[in-house]
């Protein structure tokens, strides 16, 4: 089936309410590499959906499909018309040789926002993001965090129905991350559907839904709680890295080793010296990746 976009309002899966954007069974192939293998994701108005996964998982490819920068080889993408979409590409899409104000002015003109409205919105966003005093600075001279905030503001300046953000917080200091999340949460509160890629699972945990990708395939999806609850086997803390075959199913986190036992139940008592741990999203994602590895769930 040839991939295509459906840029019309689509009904929500539950058959009511505002339209849901997203992708259905989307596949993308680059030469011999399968970048996305039948991936489905939904983006609901007023909610933030996180796409997580390691390097080469297919996050950017999925987001490019959602933003309309890439047509999938098969599957359907449901997104608003270009005027109602906002996109923050991996490269941030900001002109380094334009000032903050000029970047926003270009974006506003491109989306057909009146000058007065654009100025009003830009001033408000810049003020809230702590960039008001930097409006005359070249974007190329901004710090990484400031540039990311500018790019997020540019993506939402025209109040789109769907905002696609490709790792907006990667490499950003905690204070700037908090500022970025304020912008994102506000857009969602105003009814915008947001899909963002992130490598920070603590960020994903606070999103309404999470899609876990690995090598182009979906490892898990749903709310963070649902993904954690669905984790097979049990997780135990161990003093040192186990020897032999269990070593492949253990990882170091916060100064201790964690081992995943795919065969035991969540509440089974483990061998002496091992403590059962209540997993969080980071553990569940790691386990999902291990389980997907050949021999990982032996």
């Amino acid at each position: 089936m040839t991939g295509h976009d459906a840029m019309v309002a689509a009904a929500r899966p539950d058959g009511a309410g505002p339209p849901a954007w997203g992708a259905d069974e989307v596949c993308v192939v680059y030469g011999k590499t399968v970048a996305l293998d039948c991936v489905t994701v939904a983006a609901l108005p007023g909610q933030v959906t996180a796409v997580v996964g390691g390097d080469g998982a297919g996050k950017s490819t999925l987001l490019r499909c959602l933003a309309g920068a890439l047509t999938p080889d098969s599957g359907t993408v449901r997104r608003p018309v270009k005027e109602r979409s906002g996109y923050f590409p991996a490269s941030s899409g900001i002109y380094p040789d334009l000032t903050v104000a000029e970047n926003l002015d270009f974006r506003a003109r491109g989306y057909g926002i009146s000058r007065q409205v654009a100025r009003q919105r830009a001033a408000e966003y810049l003020d809230r993001a702590g960039l008001a005093r930097a409006s005359g600075r070249l974007a190329g001279q901004l710090s990484g965090g400031m540039r990311q905030k500018l790019a997020v503001i540019a993506a939402m300046l025209h109040h789109p129905d769907l905002i696609v953000l490709d790792e907006p917080t990667t490499g950003v200091d905690p204070v700037s991350r908090s500022g970025l999340w304020w912008l994102i949460a506000r857009a969602a509160a105003e009814g915008c559907a947001i899909v963002l890629a992130t490598t920070y699972l603590d960020e994903a945990e606070r999103c309404a839904s999470v899609l876990v990708l690995d090598s182009g395939t979906v490892l898990a999806s749903g709310t963070a709680e649902k993904i954690v609850a669905a984790m097979p086997g049990s997780l135990r803390a161990v003093a040192a890295r186990p020897e032999g075959e269990p070593a492949a199913r253990s990882w170091r986190r916060a100064g201790t080793w964690r081992g995943w036992d795919p065969d035991s139940g969540r509440l089974d008592a483990g061998p002496a010296g091992r403590h059962v741990i209540t997993p969080d999203l980071q553990d569940a994602v790691t386990v999902a990746a291990l389980a997907a590895t050949p021999g990982g769930a032996a």
Partner: protein
Amino acid sequence: MWAMIVKEFRQVRRDRRTLAMMIVLPVLLLVVLGYAASFDVKTITVAAAGPQAHAVAGSLRAPFDVTRTASGRGRSWAQNQLRDGKAEMAIVTGATRPLVLIDGSQLFSAKAALAALAQMERRGASQPGGLAVTPTVTVLYNPGLTTSDIMIPGLCGVVLVFVGTIITSLGVVRERQTGTLEQLAVMPLRPRDVYLGKIVPYFLVAIVDLAIVLSVGIAIFGVPFRGSPAVFGLGALLFLFVTLGIGVLISSVSQNQGQAIQLAVMTLLPQVLLSGLIFPLTSIAAGVRWIAYFLPLTYFNQISRGVMLRAEPITSLWQPFVFLALLGVIVVTGATLRFRSYLAPAAREHGARKPAPAAQGA
């Protein structure tokens, strides 16, 4: 140091375009320029008018080559032959002293013609046209045989190539390099708007540059502007379309500004050397000369020199105009198509194209 050397070699090996420039280009340039680099004029085309025109045609020897005769016509016809570029020298017979007109805008041909006439006189050979008296020689269009008079009209073209091709290619490829191209692709902008939006500023800059070069040439170097500004402007517009199109084409096949510069230089160099700007086209070996006819600067040179120095009307310049328009249609169509696919990754074929490098991190 060894580590640096190894690293450099690895980088150069992967940058095939630079490698090609370093190895192939010098050889290619040497061969092409070896054949092209010649100021020697072996043939001077002559038009003969007046009652003894046919006698002149029969008696003149090399380097003169009488290509047109009109026994019933006079000076006006002969001068038009020079103005329209149909001959480099004209002889008007019928008066007591024959009149030799030489086209000074063809600098090297004019100098060669004067030298050949002087040599004939010294040798005591028959006078041109078999006349018994020394002819009156008049150099038209560039009486002082000034180099700047013929170079500045051509340099106008070089300025347009510089802005049109080099600067435009850099400006467009910068979008790719900074990763903003993908942003443009998802914005509600038509490819045509982006295309025109990218080239119009350079178009205007090029026109301002052209006006400056022309003003400086006229004011400081005293270069005449004898023809119609409208004809010159039309030629410049057509030429600019081609050069801007080449700039966009270059940017669409370049991944970064370095590659764009390399390619732009590769297109600029042959234009400067083979278009007739420096070496007369007739002096370039035929095996290499054909390249000149694919270069837009060749035609712009003919238009700018024709209009500025000889006041050539558009009717006699139709050939360079037509060829320039033809090149323009081909280049601009190619550039538009390339730009459209460059800007619209959504229109890719199944798995045929990788994403833009700036957004490859999946």
